[in-house]
């Protein structure tokens, strides 16, 4: 796992997020990002915090009209696929404490 410019904190609520290449470019970051997610730390609270800190990402992960995960993106936490879990389900403690990043992955598809 490559750590980027913001790898400082491990405190509760500070969550690391690994973004796909194109979203890192949009957010003007080169590695993982850190956001302060409101407890309990869930996919929803992490994405809310991510979009508040990086507003250029609004609409790129969750569809504006439906609020749902874009179909070609998936969420992974601690090597488990959380894409189909409730966005309000608390994430694993390792994610909530910033020890492991929440991965946002783009499907390997297209030309």
């Amino acid at each position: 796992m490559t750590m980027g410019e913001s790898s400082k904190a491990e405190g509760a609520g500070t969550v690391r997020v690994a973004l796909p290449y194109h979203l890192r470019n949009l957010a003007h970051v080169t590695g993982d990002v850190e956001v302060e997610a409101a407890p309990p730390v869930t996919v929803r609270s992490v994405l809310d915090a991510l979009e508040a800190r990086y507003p250029m990402l609004r609409g790129t992960i969750r569809d504006y009209s439906t609020g749902q995960r874009r179909v070609f993106l998936r969420f992974f936490a601690c090597e488990e696929d959380w894409s189909l879990e409730s966005v309000d389900k608390p994430l694993p403690e390792a994610i909530a404490k910033g020890k492991e990043p929440l991965l946002i992955l783009g499907a390997i598809a297209g030309g």
Binding site: P20, Y21, L26, G59, T60, S65, R70, G110
Partner: protein
């Protein structure tokens, strides 16, 4: 000396091609937004340094980008770069295109699907951006599923002009093979209240009250794929062009047929004349000769490439019907590319320049109104759109 700047949108990024007025030596910049589909980019007539870009992706959805310095730097309108945004709700939502659900917009909830059933409207992408002729901060967006949006704050926020979908004919609109996109937006230079738009596959529409109400303007169009070939709506219009000196005269490349109206769309007549095939996507008008038109004939709706593998632009100098092939400098054999609907443009230099891009990644330029052509670039990703600014 005047300069030209050609804005090229491709399947995998944007490119800016620039040259002096001779249009022989070209500087190629890009790719910008590498890896993203750039459906369209267009500069503001009121401020040539202001350029709007539609950036889209099957993974990440729709984005709008803007340059205020002629393409040197880009940003999402209203978005900070590295800075931490101020607390509170955002004031800019530049990639939010929400369909109007108000009563005044009389929004439609369904259109016709490929199988004839009704289907809800779903936003997919911006096909075309048309900046205002007078205000750099006002820009129109034609989107898929078909609707017209407008921003008056430089692309930071968008509102649908709901009267178009509220016209009442929406349940008869249907997607073409490429989707149901609003792809053509023409602002009348002599009447700020008049706008023309076109949709595949619904047809052409006109507003005379700045977008509040719309009327279909498809009388004279005949489309054999429709149960009622001369129906009011449902036609697969591919592109429409106008000469700014004669805003009541429009030229149309339809799915099949090249058409012309002299009365702002009230009635159309076919001007395909001696074209070897009247299927195609692009159509444009010479900058100084309102009766000189350009099309690129494509073999058929089943085979989207030039006849006999010969890439040829056809020109009419009589407003249609009589056409001549223009082939000097274009491939004479083994050419099986397409030229998509927004991929032709003309500059306004004294010797009118004509430009078009292909799905094979070539961008061709003519500095003599089509008499001869040269490729500016050979090997870009598939070209989706070409616009030119005369500076």
């Amino acid at each position: 000396m005047s300069k030209v700047r050609v804005l090229v949108g491709t399947r995998k990024g944007a490119f800016v091609l620039s040259a002096d007025g001779k249009r022989k030596d070209w500087k190629v910049e890009g790719p910008f937004f590498a890896g993203w589909e750039i459906y369209h980019m267009k500069g503001s007539p009121a401020d040539p340094n202001r350029i709007y870009v539609s950036q889209t992706s099957g993974w990440f959805g729709q984005l709008i980008q803007r340059s205020d310095d002629g393409g040197k730097t880009w940003h999402q309108p209203g978005m900070p770069d590295e800075a931490v945004p101020p607390p509170g709700p955002p004031t800019a939502l530049p990639n939010r295109f929400a369909y109007d659900t108000s009563e005044t917009g009389k929004p439609l909830t369904t259109h016709q699907w490929y199988d004839g059933t009704q289907h809800p409207w779903e936003f997919k992408r911006v096909w075309h951006l048309e900046p205002s002729l007078t205000d750099p901060n006002t820009v129109y967006a034609g989107v898929e599923d078909a609707a017209l949006f407008r921003s008056t704050d430089g692309g930071e926020n968008w509102q649908e002009l709901g009267g178009l979908r509220g016209h009442g004919s929406g349940p008869m609109w249907m997607p073409g093979a490429g989707g149901m996109g609003l792809h053509t937006i023409i602002l009348d230079p002599g009447n700020p209240d008049r706008i023309y738009i076109a949709i595949s596959a619904a047809g052409a529409f006109r507003t005379d009250d700045s977008g509040t109400t719309w009327k279909p303007i498809n009388k004279g169009l005949v489309s054999g794929f429709m149960p009622k070939p001369d129906a009011e709506v449902g036609h697969c219009v591919h592109h429409v062009a106008m000469h700014r000196a004669r805003p009541d005269v429009l030229f149309m490349q339809k799915h099949w047929d090249v058409m012309r109206t002299d009365d702002a769309g009230e009635s159309w007549r076919e001007v395909s004349g001696n074209l070897p095939t009247d299927f195609g996507f692009v159509i444009d008008v010479h900058a100084h000769e309102p009766e000189t038109l350009y099309v690129v004939p494509i073999k058929s709706d089943s085979e989207h490439f030039p006849l006999e593998g010969k890439l040829r632009v056809y020109r009419s100098r009589s407003g249609g019907n009589e056409w001549e092939p223009l082939a000097k400098g274009l491939p004479e054999k083994d050419c099986y590319v397409n030229v998509l609907r927004d991929a032709m443009a003309v500059d306004t230099l004294d010797d009118c320049g004509v430009y078009f891009g292909t799905t094979g990644g070539q961008v061709y330029a003519s500095a003599d109104a089509g008499e001869s052509w040269m490729p500016i670039v050979h090997d870009l990703p598939a070209v989706l759109s070409v616009e030119v600014q005369t500076l």
